[in-house]
Symmetry: C2
Subunit: 366 residues, 2 copies
């Protein structure tokens, strides 16, 4: 499946949660499958912290497909033979939608650290703008894992007339102090890197590589489970014996360093800061008008968690389920046995895929 | 209880695990209580990653006592009315024993990053040297939490004739890949700080403050439990409302930054690197001759874990218990209910203190 990304420029101001206004902005997205005449088969995929709009298929010349290609495509659980799938790079991102590396048309300068802080609500509002461009009235499904799941939940609250089903995977209704703490250490790693240059690294022709790599390494530990790390690396040595020096001794060290180095070639440090802030701020239950929103909410829900996920463990998904049940919503829940940790939501798993397929097919046919 | 630290210079070479040799070295220590005539009431306390020899009592003028003062003193579980307690700063440390900030007498230069890598076995060997200085034949107890507990276990293996009881608290028989991963990110934070200067920061009149603070912040997350963080900080804001900027928004961020900043005034970056390496390398069960050592081991054991410790959870202590039981050793085990996380081993807790007191008194009287 070859795919092409598309970009549109939106010349209508977007008022952000912070009170700031984006006067105009770009949205980069990809689509898969065909929108039917009734426009009733549209699916929005929301990406997580380090994701982007390239969720499935291959860009010409690429050897690797989009980040959720195992889930989305002809005959796959999110079946593009039947569904029209849209995925957008979130605002503040670094893959084509307006973000820190874009030019602010008011100042004619790169935004850098001046790009406004965006929230999950802001993303949902900008996704609604893209939806309007397609003249789609209702998403049949809004689907996301982790931070993407939070967007799906927000959709059900903010646009009750424009969503039929929210599929919320490996997510949480809000971050805990520990979650925020990990984000804060990642941010401190970036902002304490001298090459961050107070956020203006682009102007100084620098990249805060060390800080961004540290943030990524730390993130990786929280995405994997203790079990999967033990299985994959254990205490295996890089060389055949202990060398009593500060080179890589254990395979896990080598893996982390590689992940850190790879990430800095494809991701922007200021975007990383923005994405972690959106995570920290997300707390819809605590927002004014929540109860009213819940009463108006008409969406059906599928919530999925994974047993070994310790970033957003099953108990966090179950908070969402409990809250939805209390408001008498139509909610299905599956806790999937997996040793994949938080990253399990990206991995092939028979039970997980079967739950997705069954729920989606039943919703289409029902 | 006012206490004074003491330093001795050892003029006899110490051969290290790595094959390197420390030709001479300093050992800094403190003692509490009186050694009896039979020298049968001696206790060795082993410190953990960021600890030191000042384990109890007050240095003149200090407002805060040593790091385990709630546990050690007259009438306390480690009762200095009856016991003679010794605690030593480990080699490679930064509180008086030879370490990266000491002068290498061979080169007349500060060791810095050239200080040799030390292991738990090396520490135990140097503690044996201190023991010999006191002409003590047998420790009644060797006691430690976390990395300190690993030293207590190593004592029972390496010096079967010189230890009666090993008390191993919140420890593990070896690190998992996830444990090593956290250590590696901490090390990368330090060594990627430009002020680390390839380990020679002292010569350049610099301190890798940013890296060391990051390492400490990260460490702190793993020392606290999710529950205790939630209780202590939750999602409480620093100011009365969200401000949509990168200043501190949540109390937990403020706490972490403070912990990081405080740590860099009292701890050395190269020592931090060495201590994490000693943790990574510790794996006595995998050492040659382990079975023989276990057969010769005569120590009794008390193993203690804490329910909310996710750095070394109860299951890790239970690995030690299982191994000791398999070798038919005399072992007691208590898993203490606590929301204190890994740091619970440093906190006052009735059940924990009662277990310590009972075991110690029974051993003295029996």
């Amino acid at each position: 499946m070859h795919v092409k990304e598309k970009k549109i420029h939106i010349n209508k101001p977007l008022e952000l949660n912070s009170g700031k206004i984006l006067k105009s902005y770009d949205l980069m997205f990809e689509t898969y499958g065909e929108l039917n005449d009734e426009k009733s088969n549209a699916v929005l995929i929301c990406h997580a912290l380090s994701g982007n709009h390239h969720v499935a298929g291959f860009h010409k010349g690429d050897e690797k497909p989009g980040w959720w290609d195992n889930m989305i495509g002809p005959g796959k659980p999110i079946n593009t033979d039947k569904l029209f799938v849209v995925c957008m790079n979130n605002l503040g991102g670094c893959h084509g939608s307006s973000g820190p590396n874009s030019v602010d048309i008011e100042t004619n300068q790169t935004y850098g650290f001046q790009f406004p802080i965006v929230t999950v609500q802001d993303w949902v509002n900008s996704q609604k703008v893209l939806m309007d461009e397609f003249k789609i009235i209702k998403w049949q499904f809004v689907i996301g894992g982790s931070l993407g799941g939070m967007q799906a939940l927000q959709w059900s609250l903010d646009y009750p007339d424009h969503i039929n089903n929210a599929i919320i995977i490996a997510a949480s209704p809000k971050l805990t102090a520990q979650n925020i703490a990990f984000n804060e250490v990642a941010r401190q790693a970036i902002t304490s890197d001298p090459d961050w240059c107070d956020g203006d690294y682009l102007k100084h022709n620098k990249v805060p590589k060390r800080g961004l790599a540290l943030a990524r390494m730390l993130g990786h530990i929280t995405y994997l489970s203790d079990e999967s790390m033990a299985k994959k690396f254990g205490r295996d040595l890089k060389k055949d014996k202990i060398n009593f020096n500060f080179d890589v001794e254990f395979q896990i060290e080598s893996y982390l360093r590689y992940q850190g180095e790879k990430f800095v070639t494809s991701f922007d440090a200021n975007t990383y800061l923005l994405m972690t802030k959106a995570l920290d701020y997300f707390d819809p239950i605590n927002e004014a008008g929540f109860a009213k929103k819940m009463t108006q909410c008409k969406s059906r829900f599928l919530i999925i968690s994974f047993t070994s996920d310790w970033r957003f463990p099953p108990s966090r998904s179950e908070e969402i389920v409990k809250m939805l049940v209390e408001y008498n919503k139509d909610v299905s829940y599956a806790c999937i046995e997996s040793d994949g940790g938080h990253d399990a939501f990206l991995m092939k798993n028979d039970n997980y895929f079967e739950v997705m397929r069954t729920y989606i097919e039943a919703s289409i046919n029902g």
